[in-house]
């Protein structure tokens, strides 16, 4: 076996023909500023090539690349990658339990050892599938395994029959979505909607309410759909929240378990499978280990898997948690656990920022697990920005020096201690100490505050806390300690209720009626199934009058469409189209705005704008071939013939934000302004046309932040709520982001960020720390104060890791 993986002439994306050596059986960390080419090296070169060779060797897949991206790679072994962006999942039916296959093991355990309650005995033993709510055999037929359904109260919906159909919900009917529903009714039945309900015959009423299936689903279904959509924290808009004739009901057949009655009433050790699925993983492990049933291989396997999940720091999760509700870091650790369980050696693991979402203490645990993988003979390569993780590396590869065309070179390669003195690296100076700015004094809140009283959702234990306004507040705490429960699940829904349209989740436009437009859209209907988030009864939010507006900027994707990208999301695309359509070349040929859109006339007729055509080559194998007709550009020939200052629209979409800023600065003030904000949030490296699925959660969040900031309101008294904004940012970019957030605060706004990064936290004016541990051992406020105060506070766990101006 060769001791190293040698990569020669890597040149995908912005990589400049670089040669690197990665020692096997070691931990190698690739560093560099965001967009410098780290991922291109780790994922698009090392992992892609390793994967391809393995698949070709095992004969399962054949892919032929249209482009050569590397001269040579030697010393490869099978490669496994966990990349945050590709594993973001939106299927609400997939859970921790299904993903880890613990569901299968646990249901087998129930099929073999379950004891039915009195009155629920069956003639034949239940099969394992009957304990799985996603299986047709196990699923409750009333709620389809969800455990609840939405109901409509017709009396409440139409309290007065003299009301006109098209005035049913008052101003909601002015909303585009409701109008389209009624239009479908008018078109389907050729009947008017400007008459009162009282004039409808019973048959007409049923048609209006229940439709005829295909073209018109009926008001009942539509209103329930809008209501369900409006209940999700992220997507609900003010008008969907006005629907008060619907309610969610726990399924009466399965009593919320989603299972058939016999399975729901079968127990092991006094607990049902549903109860077990709701336990914290460490509790479940302890419970199963103490069972007085014979230790079968099945049970041992189950315990081993649970133990592994606890080891990677997920003990505070429960089996029923849905994958979409997990953070990128949590999902990554979930996958990591499944690799550890497999106990393989000689594998090359490639990870993308595995420390995301981990508290300083938990990082040590993760390093221990990675150490174990290496001990067993594997090789681990990580793209990482975290200081303590980089310090633990055996070998460092630094790519840079800057992002995009200014990056892509190898700056350093060698052991950690030599890296510290590497002057040309953007990362090394921070590690050597002192480079990251740490404030010497903290802003004071001046009395304005938001107060949360008696928060009890999830594991929160009657938490009451004051959040100072006009400053930057960090919410700290180990994973599962209740940070998100306090902010995303208590404060945000509370503010949405109190402030209505003045509290918005970044990316949605108030009154935007997109939700159920296309009922066929799987992804959208999946969103209806999102967990309902409403402020719990008994919990109060005080002081909302101290803020005028609240922006919640989360890490959800910025768009779902095939062609959505930063340019479309930020509105740059619309202005670019206009610029192009005003070019003489366009005007003379009468090419309007639609010719500069992939979704309209401008899309290449052969590949519909994809740039590649997928060909089936037999046996389930496909190859992507560059589209002949457009040469891979995705745009029609007419569109490609129009030039703005020598560039086609495709050239523009291939520009990074920084490049585009230079290009558009003197062409369009609005575009320049948006691009400038993008650069300031650290997104200068991203391409205008980068497709949404390849944009990470952290990147989505920063694009949304830029979108809100670029709207240019001379905002004051605005509250910005961010979730781990340092995700995916190098020290260098973090510093830039902090500068921007500080400017916001200095203008009179407030910022709340849930964060683990000690540099970011050290820069907050006030920290609220949850803990002390995860799950049932968390959910309490353990410390609050300035970073300096926390450092002196023995009750604080994060305190000792914080940096203060005085100490330096």
């Amino acid at each position: 076996m060769k001791p190293n993986v040698e990569i020669k002439g890597a040149r995908i994306h912005n990589l400049r023909h670089i040669d690197v050596t990665i020692p096997k059986n070691r931990l190698t960390v690739i560093t560099g500023v965001s967009g410098s080419g780290k991922s291109s090296l780790a994922f698009d070169t090392l992992y892609e090539e390793g994967r391809k060779r393995y698949l070709m060797f095992s004969g399962t897949q054949l892919t032929v690349e249209s482009e050569i991206t590397v001269d040579d790679i030697s010393g490869l072994s099978p490669t496994v990658a966990v990349e945050q962006r590709i594993i973001r999942q939106s299927n609400p039916r997939s859970t921790v339990s299904t993903r880890t296959q613990i569901e299968a093991l646990l249901s087998m355990l129930f099929a073999n050892f379950g004891v039915p309650d009195d009155g629920f005995e069956t003639r034949e033993p239940l099969e394992a599938a009957m304990f799985q709510k996603n299986s047709p055999k196990g699923m409750c037929p009333r709620c389809m395994g969800k455990g609840y359904y939405y109901r409509l109260d017709e009396e409440k919906m139409i309290p007065d029959r003299s009301i006109r159909i098209d005035e049913l919900f008052g101003d909601i009917c002015d909303n585009g979505h409701m109008w389209r529903i009624l239009e479908r009714y008018r078109r389907t039945f050729h009947k008017p909607t400007d008459i009162p309900f009282a004039q409808l015959s019973p048959e007409d009423y049923d048609e209006l309410m229940f439709g005829q299936g295909k073209h018109y689903q009926g008001l009942a279904q539509e209103v329930i759909g809008m209501y369900a959509w409006g209940q999700t924290t992220s997507s609900g808009t003010s008008w969907t929240r006005k629907i008060d004739c619907c309610y969610r009901e726990e399924c009466r057949r399965c009593e919320g378990t989603g299972l058939g009655r016999e399975a729901a009433h079968t127990k092991i050790g006094g607990r049902t499978i549903t109860e077990m699925s709701n336990m914290y993983l460490d509790d479940l492990l302890a419970f199963l280990s103490n069972l007085s049933i014979e230790k079968t291989p099945l049970q041992k396997e189950l315990e081993k898997k649970l133990k592994c999940l606890c080891d990677v720091g997920l003990s505070y999760l429960s089996l029923h948690r849905t994958l979409p509700s997990l953070s990128g870091g949590e999902i990554q650790r979930l996958f990591l656990a499944s690799y550890i369980i497999a106990e393989m050696d000689s594998i090359i693991f490639v990870f993308d920022e595995p420390t995301i979402g981990l508290h300083e203490n938990e990082k040590q645990n993760l390093l221990r697990i990675i150490g174990k993988l290496i001990e067993e003979g594997n090789t681990v390569v990580c793209v990482e920005h975290d200081e303590s993780f980089i310090r633990a590396a055996d070998y460092i590869i630094d790519i840079g020096p800057d992002a995009g065309i200014l990056g892509g070179r190898k700056i350093f390669e060698g052991p950690y201690r030599d890296f510290l003195t590497c002057g040309s690296s953007r990362t090394a100076p921070y590690l050597a100490g002192g480079a990251f700015p740490i404030p010497h004094e903290y802003r004071s809140a001046g009395g304005r505050r938001l107060s949360i009283r008696n928060a009890n959702i999830h594991n929160l234990q009657d938490v009451s806390v004051d959040i100072p306004l006009g400053v930057m507040v960090g919410i700290a705490g180990v994973s599962g300690s209740g940070k998100s429960s306090l902010i995303a699940n208590t404060l945000v829904p509370g503010l949405k209720e109190l402030m209505r349209g003045w509290c918005v989740t970044g990316g949605e436009k108030p009154g935007d009626g997109k939700p159920v437009d296309d009922p066929e859209d799987e992804e959208l209907s999946a969103e209806f199934d999102d967990e309902e988030e409403m402020i719990a009864a008994g919990t109060r939010i005080l002081g909302h009058e101290n803020i005028r507006k609240c922006y919640v900027i989360d890490q959800r994707p910025i768009g779902r469409s095939r062609t959505s990208c930063p340019a479309t999301y930020t509105g740059i695309m619309d202005r670019m189209r206009k610029l192009f359509s005003e070019c003489p070349e366009a005007k003379s040929r009468n090419l309007g705005i639609g010719w500069f859109s992939l979704n309209s006339k401008g899309g290449c007729p052969a590949c519909h704008g994809d740039g590649v055509v997928r060909r089936h080559v037999g046996f389930g194998n496909f190859i992507d071939i560059r589209c002949d007709q457009c040469g891979g550009y995705g745009f029609a020939a007419e569109t490609m013939s129009v030039h703005l200052d020598g560039k086609t629209i495709r050239d523009c979409l291939d520009m990074t934000v920084s490049e585009a800023y230079a290009f558009f600065r003197d062409k369009d003030g609005v575009i320049a302004k948006i691009l400038n904000v993008l650069i300031r949030v650290g997104m200068g490296y991203i391409k205008l046309g980068q497709k949404t699925p390849t944009i990470s959660g952290g990147e989505s969040q920063r694009i949304k932040l830029a979108g809100e900031l670029a709207k240019g309101r001379a905002a004051k008294e605005v509250l910005y709520i961010l979730d781990e904004p340092s995700t995916g940012l190098s020290f260098y970019d973090c510093e830039k982001l902090l500068k921007l957030l500080n400017e916001l605060v200095d203008m009179g706004n407030s910022v709340i960020l849930t964060e683990h990064d000690t540099h970011m936290l050290s820069n907050c004016d006030w920290i609220i720390e949850m803990g002390p541990a995860g799950g049932r051992n968390g959910g309490r406020l353990i410390a609050e104060g300035t970073p300096a105060e926390l450092k002196r506070n023995p009750a604080s766990i994060i305190g000792r890791h914080l940096k203060t101006g005085e100490a330096q």
């Binding site: 069956t122 047709p136 037929p141 009333r142 389809m144 359904y149 409509l152 229940f210 299936g213």
Partner: protein, 301 residues
């Protein structure tokens, strides 16, 4: 053995249908050919599987003729579980929807009755209650989905309006036609349903090939048997007319170009060709695979 029977035996020798046990051809008022295989005879009783559905349909027709129910009745009128608002769309489901497999009630498992939902229903003890708890997936009347639930509900309704569905069909249909049938399987909540869960119980709905012919003959003769009206020709017309959601299906009777008939899993069939005054009946041993013998039903025999 007549010439037609000779022809059938010859055809079958090369047709590779070892499961077929009987073939009967009836034309112009009389049986023209009766061929039996695998030891079966004219007196052998054979499972009918879903031919039961078409027989139940005749029972519904007779009950409508007698004014006991109407196909336009809503199901909740007869089954109170459907009037509790468990699902908003329950109130829209009619008897006719059940007859045309368009109740919209959730169903998974194809045409086969060994499906998970049926198994769960059987374990539940109360069949009608279980079905009333299932989600209404499609708008009633709009989507055809072949399922046992609709038939079970019909059987429950027929018992509800007549007192006992088996006694009613036995008195009003089987007795005049000279058909013998043992009492059918009854669910724990008193719903007659064939095919029954257990093999032994299923033999209760077994018919001879000749009895199957008589079911077809009744329809061919527009409901008249030996000069006496058994079921109205109105009902027969509706039962054999294409339904809106599936032109190949009437009221639990299958339809095609120039024919209508009954189909049971594994090759149980009655095919009536009204314009040719002709009926073909087959019976076959049931295997795990859903075998069908189109080449025999429509052969020139």
């Amino acid at each position: 053995m007549n010439r037609r029977e000779d022809h059938i035996y010859q055809m079958m020798a090369s047709a590779h249908h070892p499961q077929i046990n009987s073939i009967v051809v009836w034309e112009d008022g009389e049986t023209k050919a009766e061929c039996f295989f695998n030891g079966y005879t004219a007196a052998s009783r054979h499972v009918i599987r879903s031919v039961f559905k078409s027989i139940l349909s005749v029972g519904i027709g007779i009950a409508q003729d007698e004014g006991l129910l109407n196909v336009r009745d809503s199901v909740k009128k007869h089954l109170p579980a459907f009037g509790e608002g468990r699902d908003m769309r329950h109130r829209l489901i009619t008897v006719e929807h059940l007859l045309t497999m368009t109740s919209g009630i959730f169903w998974q498992g194809g045409v086969h009755y060994h499906c998970p939902l049926m198994a769960a229903m059987r374990r539940s003890g109360s069949w009608v209650d279980y079905i009333a708890d299932c989600m209404v997936r499609d708008m009633p009347g709009t989507v055809y989905n072949y399922k046992e639930f609709d038939v079970i509900l019909l059987s429950a309704i027929l018992s509800k309006v007549t007192g006992d569905a088996f006694d009613y069909i036995n008195d009003k249909l089987f007795a005049p036609l000279g058909i013998h049938n043992d009492r059918w399987y009854k669910s724990p909540d008193g719903v007659y349903y064939c095919p029954a869960p257990e093999k032994e119980q299923e033999s209760a709905s077994a018919l001879t090939a000749g009895e199957m012919v008589r079911i077809g003959q009744l329809f061919l003769q527009q409901g008249i048997w030996n000069g006496r009206r058994i079921v109205s020709d109105d009902y027969i017309r509706s039962a054999t007319a294409p339904s809106p959601a599936n032109p190949g299906y009437g009221y639990l009777w299958w339809l095609g170009e120039g024919w209508y008939g009954c189909r049971g899993f594994g090759g149980q069939s009655v095919t009536v060709f009204p314009e040719r005054d002709r009926i073909v009946v087959t019976q076959a041993t049931v295997t795990d695979r859903p075998l069908s013998y189109e080449d025999v039903y429509f052969a020139d025999i």
